[in-house]
Symmetry: C2
Subunit: 292 residues, 2 copies
């Protein structure tokens, strides 16, 4: 079911049933893709994971996480690999009170990445489950994903690919696995964290690339009407990069902005190629082609 796994803070390659990551969802995680054995945007992912662990009162050494990545990539490389890094509060007595001498559990698990994950079009349905901006978990990549699991099941039952979460006030938040963007003319908008949104690494990369492409890119609250009126709507995450939303609740969405979305996708892919030395699409760089 999966590739290499590295576990620290646990005995062997299994997890204790008293680990608070399991008993209480007490932990955070990160997902990235490594190309040619090099994590793409690794330092951004690392910084966010360390910051999110700190936000829930856990201290994790960046070098420790780098060691886990290196151990798993030594087995997985050079094939493109999805790395999931999980940090839990570790083993503790029952109860949800602060742990006196916490020893976090750190897990790095690899699974294969395929270029087919890039850019697959998405039919979205609005979930009946609302996102809670008054929950810190909404802005963290926290382990408790049950609402996401249930919303994904609801979407699958409706023949859709993913579900869209709104806030109780009806603002657009995110999908079960991705941030969302709306393009209208030269204005690219994604909901702010205060709308219950996790600050995705791909979201940050897209905002940066969009500005460099001359778009007025920024965080702005969105309503469903903004998605319907948009020239293009797309999702972002670190595994799928940019994925166009082609339908919302059964109605087709516009694709007038498709060329801009494709340009953004190319800009991010080019950055991955520069950083990792291997193109995510599988093309080798000229230098490597020569060497091969």
């Amino acid at each position: 079911l999966s590739g290499p796994v590295w576990i620290d803070g646990a005995s062997g390659d299994r997890i204790e049933p008293t680990d608070r990551g399991l008993t209480l969802g007490d932990g955070v995680f990160d997902t990235l893709v490594a190309f040619g054995g090099v994590p793409f945007a690794g330092e951004r992912h690392l910084a966010r994971l360390v910051a999110q662990a700190a936000a829930i009162g856990m201290s994790v050494a960046p070098d420790h996480i780098r060691s886990g990545w290196a151990a798993v990539l030594a087995e997985a490389r050079p094939a493109p690999a999805i790395l999931r890094t999980t940090v839990t509060r570790g083993v503790a007595a029952r109860g949800l009170w602060p742990v006196e001498s916490p020893r976090p559990t750190l897990i790095v698990a690899a699974s294969p990445w395929s270029r087919q994950l890039l850019g697959a079009p998405v039919r979205l349905v609005t979930s009946t489950i609302r996102r809670n901006p008054a929950s810190p978990s909404a802005r963290l990549k926290a382990l408790g994903y049950l609402d996401h699991v249930l919303a994904a099941r609801e979407a699958a039952e409706k023949g859709a690919d993913d579900a869209l979460f709104l806030t109780p006030a009806g603002r657009v938040a995110c999908s079960t696995i991705a941030n969302i963007f709306a393009l209208r003319a030269d204005r690219l908008s994604t909901p702010p964290e205060s709308d219950g949104v996790m600050p995705g690494v791909m979201r940050a990369l897209v905002l940066k690339k969009a500005a460099s492409l001359g778009l007025a890119a920024g965080e702005r609250s969105l309503a469903l009407a903004d998605l319907i009126a948009a020239d293009a709507v797309f999702l972002t995450n670190s595994v799928r990069f940019l994925a166009p939303v082609v339908a919302l609740d059964g109605a087709a969405l516009a694709n007038r902005g498709g060329a801009v979305v494709a340009a953004l996708q190319q800009a991010v892919l080019a950055e991955a190629e520069r950083e990792c030395g291997v193109a995510p699409e599988g093309k080798l760089r000229p230098a490597e082609t020569d060497a091969a």
Copy 2:
């Protein structure tokens, strides 16, 4: 850190790092206390756990859970034991989509129960984190307890014993580990599930006992003002039974209804003694005293 553990659906006494209980908080759990080797209100707990598993699309055989309880209690008995039963979606490939042939992981873990857990007074503080009634997880004993962990930490930092969750609309929901009740004259109220409340087994027992004691007991939405105006406020859960709330956000709460709360506690304790054959307080029944 803990007592006997029974695990089914996992290899040995550890959990796979790809178990969706850990990776996605994809599961539900139950906590009960067994006295003299007999789970108190075991059938109620079992029915709720099976129903909550079904609500998230998992099928669990009640007899299977009973086997786990029996295996753990065979080691723990006759000492009073807290049994935590966890049901997860089991091991799966990454992603949060429905699992094709799920094999749930079932964990039963025992830890010691002490009579000191009974009736300890609670100083509550209102959490800055709000409860989300539009999340199905709010009505489930789901694994994702991070908001609870963070609220408990906030309460500990403020010198309190537990935190009170309100809904975004300002309605009283529950504490991090308990349901809440307010008594005013002969009217006993606890928030309805639609206010984002988990249907606690002890909550149900207290509603039943209250009716038999002549109280007008039922589900009613509560505001903070209702707690402040109450004759008594108390928390319920299956480990601590009834616990009086003595202060809210630093201000003392009334205890005019203390005798009624004590009567309810006694009624529940008497039911535990009848059902389990051993008094939770540690007194033996006359017949057993004779036999000893």
